[in-house]
Symmetry: C2
Subunit: 400 residues, 2 copies
């Protein structure tokens, strides 16, 4: 009698969430410190101090009716202007605040964008391994998910395969760099190649193909890597951002969508964004946090903590013999499953109290994802377990 | 190429919003105080002091990772418990926190509920005059809107008409008390009669019919009126609430859905709620404001300010000869349009700088809605205009 698809989505939460719940039970049984939960991508680093300072200042010195009141559906005008100015400066971009829409976080950025552009049976390409909610969001918007597998050795997009997957029904492709679950950061060259493919295919099929860039990890890049801002490379770009990871505010639900102003028919695409937001039940992004983020642009949590975690874990695990995709960003390590069956391997790792997400959750098999947004202590204490695990694995598995 | 329905929804915002935008332009032209904008239902009263106090306390004394982190998708466990305890006490209800789902405000409460229960072509009944976004939300969830007109004299639901509108496709009915746009509060007797009809029809058609009760104005009731809490009257009740009006926090997007625990198949309906929230892009309700509302239960903004506005406006306008539905709640006055054509009358009222929303926006013609959530000064200064308007109307209109 109810909507059975919605029931299924509520009943079967993701494998990530299930592993996390298992971890909670296990911790209660054997003690918090004895379980090494690497399941969830939940920022573990404090918000930068400026967050508290600005929140306090806003609460003390702003009239409550205007502070907590409705903003325009697309966001507070001053906030939009501040964000666009910041982005234009930082990325030498040419954005217009008219085409920026404040959202309740990354998930909302994606659902609003997808519902704005998809008509029944349009296809949306995702690049495996991919964030599992993409499928949920695309299908709810009446789209069809087309999965493009990566190059086996590098986990980078297979561009030939991408090229061949685009057809007359292709409405969009979602990219995600820095990537969840691999930690890979797409360089300028790769973005340019994707743009070239899309441009060629737009001409071939004589319709627009949108590049949806899901960028919650944009600030989480380690080392000297330039981040290529996609609207500088491709006109039909829809940038979906969230402040969840950069400011450690995942529960507050604050982000934005910004369209390239050179997008074809940009006015109408923006109207469709507004219409989608309205019909999905997003009235405006949370007002206090809109005002907060406008005053914290360029600030981040102390991201060196994640970098240190990455370095320890990557180097140590490598030295034990694990095969790992080298991650330049986000807070994930993508590790080849011993024995190649990631679900079996994830189960096996539980014996060592290591909670690792099988990559099947990300539409690709043979790996596990390690979320290293945890305390350094957990990282360090988990190392002997990882070592034992790989030492014992082949022997024990043979005996089974 | 984009989704044309979404574009239309973004392009043609509501008549209410258009009138509000007209007001902003007009104010810039002739001065703020010379335009009497009664268009928008935006709380004009400050948040109660406890809001700032609790916000400050939470920010000062809570670890930022837990304060601003993700909560469970359905909300923080302690917050859910606090709200259910409060409701059970206040309304002598029998709710279970297991079936409460925190949301990003009233609109989200409605879209999540509708998407959870509607399958393609299910019908949802709305009682005219009704909040115009109901139609947007129902249609986006693939439902069909069935409008039931009110009794002409009282604007109360026409129960015979309701009875006859229910058929084998009816999935739900939305009620809204205190009502936008009439200000009417449904009494116990009326809720009981609606419950009786639905129970009878559930048996007749052998399927569940949900009573969705949209209650953002629940605390805005003037005088000694008992509020009948719908889950005490009808088992298949879905209560949609928002703290926007009671605490003057409309921009912060915080509310909840709570199901009657006696609902048929309640576990699965709750799963469908979770699935709908997930697929629409609501990850969790804003974390700081979840914790805030749990500590402000039972508190409200100073609502006597609205009551005073209502009393002045209702009594004065009556004395000038306007016909008005007597409002017991919310912050709206529903006034018969002079000349019976509400759109023409709304246009005419602009000559007197009075911005009144034509009731056609609410699926019913012949009235205008006056939102009296404005300053007392605006109320008092508008009175001579209302007087002139009714005095001049018949003469001028004849001359046209």
């Amino acid at each position: 009698m109810i909507n059975s698809k919605m029931k299924e989505l509520g009943l079967h939460s993701s494998a990530i969430r299930e592993l996390f719940e298992y971890g909670k039970i296990r911790k209660a049984l054997i003690g918090e410190k004895n379980v090494f939960d690497f399941s969830i991508g939940n920022p573990s680093v404090a918000t930068p101090e400026i967050v508290d300072e600005v929140l306090m200042d806003l609460i003390k010195n702003t009239d409550s009716v205007s502070l907590h009141g409705y903003t325009s559906a697309s966001g507070d005008a001053d906030v939009k202007k501040a964000i666009v100015n910041y982005l234009n400066n930082k990325y030498i971009a040419d954005l217009d605040e008219k085409y920026l829409y404040m959202t309740c976080g990354a998930a909302a950025s994606l659902t609003i964008s997808l519902n704005a552009i998809i008509s029944e049976n349009d296809e949306v390409i995702v690049l495996a391994p991919y964030f599992p909610e993409y499928k949920v969001f695309i299908e709810k918007a009446n789209g069809k998910v087309i999965i493009v597998n990566p190059q086996k050795e590098t986990m980078l997009p297979d561009l030939d395969c991408l090229y061949n997957s685009i057809n007359e029904n292709t409405k969009a492709i979602i990219i995600n760099s820095p990537n969840n679950p691999t930690g890979i950061v797409y360089d300028k060259n790769l973005i340019q190649k994707i743009a070239d493919i899309l441009n060629k295919k737009q001409i071939e099929y004589n319709h627009d193909i949108y590049l949806i860039s899901d960028e919650p990890y944009r600030e989480l890049i380690y080392g000297d890597i330039d981040y290529p801002f996609v609207s500088n490379y491709y006109d039909n770009s829809i940038i979906c951002y969230s402040f969840s990871k950069s400011l450690s505010l995942p529960g507050e639900r604050i982000g934005y969508i910004v369209l390239s102003k050179k997008m074809n028919d940009v006015e109408n695409v923006f109207y469709a964004i507004c219409g989608a937001g309205r019909s999905l039940g997003f009235v405006c992004a949370p007002s206090l946090f809109q005002k907060l983020v406008a005053r914290c642009l360029g600030h981040t949590s102390d991201l060196t903590i994640y970098e240190e975690n990455r370095n320890i874990l990557y180097n140590e695990l490598k030295s034990y013999g694990y095969e790992i995709i080298k991650p330049d960003g986000a807070f994930y390590l993508f590790v080849k499953a011993l024995g190649d069956d990631s679900i079996k391997f994830s189960e096996y790792a539980k014996k060592y109290e290591l909670l690792l997400v099988p990559s099947d959750s990300f539409g690709y098999s043979g790996f596990v994802r390690i979320s290293y947004c945890v305390s350094k202590e957990q990282i360090v204490n988990s190392l002997p377990q990882f070592k034992k695990l790989i030492e014992n694995f082949s022997r024990e598995v043979k005996h089974e």
